[in-house]
Symmetry: C2
Subunit: 154 residues, 2 copies
């Protein structure tokens, strides 16, 4: 349970790659991380809209982090892919429930949310990417790895 979607795992792997390489094209990141290239394009674009990466179009272009990896908390990445943390609907919305702020179940779900949130705030991208990595954790579900040739890094 609580399985993290492939999309989020891909995002993390891609960002870790960018952190180490200093910037790269979507195709090369996909090849290196064994992610479907076209699918990754969309993910990277989403990360751009969230202000985590920036991009240069055209030949020689690609993606790079907007900030040092140490200034990108993991919760920001997760939020960019999946939106806000919300285990049940009425969390953060006291108008849903007649018991308002005194609702025990709400406190329970709030506690769960806080627990995850504070953990995700305590770790940043640099913590994950700092060591020389061979692969990055989580294989996702890609069964058709990119075959495209990608010669040379930037």
């Amino acid at each position: 349970m609580f399985q993290v979607p492939a999309k989020t795992q891909y995002a993390i792997r891609a960002l870790a790659h960018l952190a180490r390489s200093g910037g790269d094209s979507a195709a090369r990141v996909a090849l290196a991380q064994n992610i479907s290239a076209k699918y990754l394009e969309g993910i990277l674009n989403q990360l751009k809209l969230a202000g985590i990466v920036t991009s240069d179009r055209g030949r020689g272009g690609g993606y790079r982090l907007t900030r040092p990896a140490s200034e990108i908390p993991m919760i920001e990445i997760v939020a960019a892919m999946e939106g806000e943390l919300k285990p049940v609907e009425c969390v953060d919305d006291s108008s849903v429930c007649s018991r308002g702020a005194f609702c025990m179940p709400r406190k329970f779900w709030q506690g769960l949310k806080d627990s995850v949130e504070s953990y995700l705030k305590s770790v940043n991208l640099a913590d994950l990417a700092e060591e020389p990595l061979i692969t990055i954790c989580g294989t996702g579900k890609n069964k058709n790895p990119t075959k495209t040739e990608a010669k040379g890094a930037r």
Copy 2:
């Protein structure tokens, strides 16, 4: 994100109801908690297989907790519905990764898992059900509430 499935929310509400009533039929629990009756039957059965409730068949039968609510940690309920906590495949399985125990990404996912797990272990069903409740948190997705008449409790 991290949305808790309706099934799990239903299970929790049903169990809280049983904790307060001391035992009831699936149909009456469904009515009281606004859950699809037939769907709830399956859920209660699953909770039975997990050893959280027990049941009596036939007229006058129903479900009741196997233990005091204070001895049922929330993690047991969640595990009964969704299986073990596993954000990514390679968590708990060092054979997946060439970096073995030194893999930073794994430590990250392990940390997330531990964080959720320890919280869910720290709360029990009595904590949720102790107060006189009107409704129980989280509405789920049931749009066709049970219409069946259910007269009188046990």
